[in-house]
């Protein structure tokens, strides 16, 4: 009933995850300045996508699974972005408390 992933493909995904882990640790020692945080998050997201697609079998499952994955990620972004908007734009007006 399900697509059965081969051991080889599991190992390949695992190897990629290890490489990405080392990449993220390595990147933290490289002076990237403001790009440091985005790079770390992009790598973490790629790792997540690999885990979700291959280890959690989202690649071969229902379209609904995809929707849930994407939606939950979007909702998280929604919460973070709209909250951050407030904190970032504080003090743009020269009025105390605005």
């Amino acid at each position: 009933m399900h697509h059965v992933a081969s051991i080889k493909s599991n190992l390949v995904v695992f190897a990629l995850l290890m490489v990405l882990l080392l990449a993220t640790v390595g990147a933290s020692y490289v002076p990237l300045g403001v790009m440091h945080f985005p790079v770390a998050m992009v790598i973490a997201t790629v790792k997540t996508v690999l885990i979700v697609l291959f280890f959690m079998h989202a690649l071969h499952s229902h379209r609904l699974t995809w929707i849930i994955c994407v939606a939950s990620f979007l909702w998280l972004l929604l919460m973070i972005v709209f909250t951050i908007i407030d904190f970032l734009s504080r003090g743009w007006l020269d009025i105390l408390g605005k």
Binding site: F82, T83, D86, S89, R90, G91, I95
Partner: protein, 553 residues
């Protein structure tokens, strides 16, 4: 669990239904969605009485400008907190979904039960555990922070049982998550053959949208109150500005759930109204797809308007502008619904039975509540009326005039299905009218009070506000009578034999084709659906006497 267990299905007598087993054990260990609905019905009614008692005491206190009845402002603070916490977390949020939704969704989509019956029972137990803690708090000290638990008052200054309250809310949230998760899975996987998405009753669509909010919003509330409990319990700084924290962050996390929670309360009510209106207007619903899609739109847009609670809380003005715009946007799908209900009634053969009276009341009151909401989402106006009785009146028009009216309308509409009994139509109409009049007398004066500048959550007030406050209290007494009336005649109806018949209203939904009350397994055979819902025509009114058993084919 008796001798019947070994019998095949055919021999089950006609009178056998989901209520037949009377043992306490059969109720406490049931996994039947209908029985769990009844368990919720009883529990939310009890909490409604608790919350209502708190409201009545506040109203009596407010009859005079001086604080004389309750003796101290502390008592008053505990009362409005109790009223808010109990009514929102323990009555409104579970009311329609957990009572009517539990009972009806499997019947409406042609399923034998929800996808996870044991999880469903668990959600009730979780609710009862959270509720017991709430009752414990009530008896041994109370909370005085308001239902919003704003820091730093809740974490640093309040001397009441805030940690207990946070735990109660945290636990109860999981009951809501479990219900929502169950509904979504059920609606996706358990539909009968032929029950395509656009043949689903709008009640089911509304619950689908509600469940999305429950699943995606509630966990954030859980974290917000958990942080409050940790900050207060350990005396460390999480939201304390002196220790690097930010109190407005708590408001962000809190309202990320608690504004969508308003839609958890109102969306199921809209679902109920979408069932009642076409039935009593004998017309197919107007704009089915628009109503269905607007439920989802409300759920989605409702997630990005939360900042309108924080216009004067020190939120940046630019964020305020974004949230203000988005708040206006959420009025569009709400208005689509109101216009479609109105259009459904156009040229219909309208019958003014009790459920219809409640539904009509809902439309009017919800419209007033919604339009005043537009006033509040206007940045400049909000600064004038923020934290006044104008806000109190606005959200009571939505939650009491909207959600509670819809809940009562739904209870009256499906009472014959739930219990197999009809109630006194005369008393029913009387209750709908009493609630409508009492409600308006209670809350309309509060719009005026708020606009004149009377702040909310105050124990005493300036004497020029007294006339309007007395009006409001008088209205509350009428409202209380209106709520007590159904409790009386609905319970009384249980003394009669179950003679309501399968379909006393001549309605077209699948739930009306099974017995009243339904058998434990809902359907004798798997139903097949071959038409769109709401196939009403004015002709069907012929020979409709309100009690006979109409076409179950």
């Amino acid at each position: 669990m008796s001798a019947v267990a070994v019998e095949p299905r055919e021999s089950v007598a006609v009178e056998e239904n989901y209520l037949s087993d009377h043992t306490v054990k059969s109720w406490l260990l049931t996994t039947d969605h209908k029985r769990i609905g009844i368990l919720y019905l009883i529990s939310v009614t009890l909490f409604f009485l608790v919350g209502g008692a708190a409201a009545s005491m506040m109203r009596f206190e407010l009859m005079t400008p001086k604080g004389d009845l309750l003796g101290s402002p502390d008592v008053y603070n505990r009362l409005f907190t109790t009223h808010g916490v109990v009514m929102i977390f323990f009555f409104l949020v579970p009311s329609i979904p957990a009572v009517l939704g539990n009972f009806l969704i499997p019947l409406m989509i042609g399923a034998r039960d929800l996808a996870f019956p044991i999880l469903n029972l668990m959600s009730w137990y979780v609710y009862i555990i959270g509720g017991s803690i709430a009752i414990y708090i009530l008896m041994f000290g109370g909370v005085d922070t308001g239902w919003t638990f704003y820091t730093p008052f809740s974490t640093m200054y309040s001397n009441t049982m805030v940690v207990h309250a946070a735990i109660a809310v945290f636990i109860t949230g999981f009951s809501s998550i479990l219900t929502g998760l169950n509904f979504i899975v059920t609606i996706h996987t358990m539909r009968a053959p032929g029950m395509s998405w656009f043949r689903l009753p709008l009640f089911v669509w509304a619950h689908y949208a509600t469940s999305l909010i429950m699943v995606l919003g509630t966990p954030v509330l859980a974290i917000a109150v958990a942080l409050i409990a940790v900050e207060r319990g350990f005396g460390i700084g999480i939201f304390n500005p002196n220790l690097g924290g930010d109190p407005v962050l708590f408001q962000h996390l809190f309202w990320f759930y608690s504004h969508p929670a308003v839609y958890i309360m109102i969306l199921p009510g809209m679902g109920v109204i979408s069932e009642i209106i076409p039935c009593f207007a004998r017309r197919p619903i107007f704009g089915y797809r628009f109503i269905a899609a607007s439920s989802l739109a409300i759920a989605v847009i409702g997630f990005v308007v939360w900042g309108h609670h924080m216009f004067v809380s020190g939120q940046s003005m630019y964020a305020g502008m974004v949230f203000s715009m988005l708040s206006f946007l959420v009025a569009v799908p709400s208005a689509i619904k109101v216009f479609n209900w109105t259009s459904t009634m156009y040229k219909g053969s309208i019958r003014f039975d009790t459920p219809m009276l409640y539904a009509l009341g809902f439309i009017g009151l919800f419209t007033i509540g919604g339009l005043t909401g537009m006033m509040l989402s206007t940045l400049a106006v909000d600064i004038h009326v923020h934290d006044t009785y104008f806000v109190v009146a606005h959200f009571h028009y939505i939650m009491v005039g909207g959600a509670v009216m819809a809940y009562l309308g739904g209870i009256h509409f499906w009472w014959p299905k739930i219990t197999g009994r009809m109630y006194s139509e005369l008393l029913g109409k009387l209750s709908a009218l009493t609630v409508f009049i009492g409600f308006n007398l209670t809350f309309f004066p509060q719009f005026v009070l708020g606009y004149l500048g009377m702040p909310r959550r105050y124990f005493e007030y300036a004497s020029e506000f007294q006339v309007l406050n007395v009006m409001s209290t008088a209205g509350a007494s009428i409202l209380a009578a209106g709520y007590a009336l159904p409790l009386f005649y609905l319970l009384l109806s249980l003394r009669q034999p179950p003679t309501a018949g399968k379909n006393p209203w001549g309605a077209t939904g699948l739930e009306w084709q099974v017995d009243s009350p339904p058998t434990t397994h809902n359907f004798d055979f798997t139903p097949r659906i071959d038409r769109a819902p709401y196939a009403y025509s004015p002709v069907a009114i012929e020979g409709f006497d309100g009690y006979s058993d109409h076409g179950s084919h």
